[in-house]
Symmetry: D2
Subunit: 151 residues, 4 copies
Amino acid sequence: MNAPTQQERLAHQCSESLHSRDRAAQMLGIRILECGPGHCELAMAVTAAMLNGHGVCHGGLLFALADTALAHASNSRNKLSVASICTIDFLRSAEAGTVVIASAMERFHGRRKSSYDVELRDDKTRLIALFRGETVSTDAAVIREGESCND
Amino acid sequence: MNAPTQQERLAHQCSESLHSRDRAAQMLGIRILECGPGHCELAMAVTAAMLNGHGVCHGGLLFALADTALAHASNSRNKLSVASICTIDFLRSAEAGTVVIASAMERFHGRRKSSYDVELRDDKTRLIALFRGETVSTDAAVIREGESCND
Amino acid sequence: MNAPTQQERLAHQCSESLHSRDRAAQMLGIRILECGPGHCELAMAVTAAMLNGHGVCHGGLLFALADTALAHASNSRNKLSVASICTIDFLRSAEAGTVVIASAMERFHGRRKSSYDVELRDDKTRLIALFRGETVSTDAAVIREGESCND
Amino acid sequence: MNAPTQQERLAHQCSESLHSRDRAAQMLGIRILECGPGHCELAMAVTAAMLNGHGVCHGGLLFALADTALAHASNSRNKLSVASICTIDFLRSAEAGTVVIASAMERFHGRRKSSYDVELRDDKTRLIALFRGETVSTDAAVIREGESCND
């Protein structure tokens, strides 16, 4: 296995910095499985507390997982980026106990505007939802003063 | 003030039935301010646990509030409906302490497919986000066997 | 009837300037019924040449009408703006002979990003489609050197 | 090269049947480069008549190309399908003379609802726009009585 490139190390640091401050993602038990420049993979286990009135995972929390994946993928180059418009297409419901995997991939990287696809899949790798998000980048950095920039 | 119509009473019962089973909405402290046939108004106070890595309310949780409003508006005629595709346009961020109000309004009511607009506003009634959701209705009822259908 | 304000006159000039150069809108027979700061109303008659393989107006041409309304509403303050992301929800089909009316309304006006709703209605004022578009403004002007700025 | 399968032949017949009746696609000079079960590739040359007020291809006509690709991909199994909700993300503009290629791919195929991604690329294979469309299928056939079902 090859050593991580400088860009991969930077993506890891951005991801860790973001996650350490993301209390909502922590509340939902979201874990980072993998991250790199413009992409990432996150996991979230559906608990009983996450069910909606129909007895399946609340669509808003599936969206929250996808939106978190969008944040990690779009902030991976240490340029602070925020979501602008997101669309989610709900295809299958997720029951309690399911571990949902979100895979984010950059589709377009512009000077200010970028576009990402996020797929949500269940334990059986069946597609649960398709998410597409547009982000806008700023001139601020993701990693804050005092946070380690070494690996 | 006029007495509620039969349709308004039914909408209230659907809303209560849905909310009593919606553990995710309860976890987020979502409250029902108003509901009727095809519309509703919900509130959610942004707590410190809801902040994302940028220090403002996680977009996924704003979406969850809008999606919950969609559920109450689209299930208000006792025909079980589920979200199909939703789009959210993030316009302003919401800080800790803000009470966000979601107002859902039916724009189209078809035999199976319906369409709703949800506006999210902050304490100063400034627009935070615009949400549009399409739902698909089924033949199942929202109110379950044994739940009171009296008012 | 009151005299138009300066902003209304500017909106008219932007609209005329835009329309005179918009060969696609001319090809589709799009007419401007009304325009002002952040809003407009356009009309398009569905001809036989606009039908799709199912014998009703091609969804792409309904979108083109809505998108043109978006352009007039978002360029009405003489700041050149372009569409970034648009969503259309097709609700009813439009047959040949129908005159479709598009009404665009500004929902959010930011420093760079703005958001608009466009409704498409048929002759019987029935909702045909709901369109939402985000635009990004630039520092360029809509009205070009040499074009009259008088009314 | 292998002989086409029965499903590929059916997809071709559906595509031809649809295209022969699609007067809007013919008006725009849309050509079918390739089609099969759940996918297709179309081309459209941007002419001077397709330009908008900013001097580039009208976004509505780019959408019309993507929407036509959606129709061919979603009707490829001889089950009549119609577009329900579509989102387009405009990334780059297309100038007169550009041949735009639309590639449609099925992402989800449900009993009634299906979801498709369409990419628009220019001559240099640069991404111009990302389109996502949801379709609803009916029980009607695409190929009409009297149309040849032989190849």
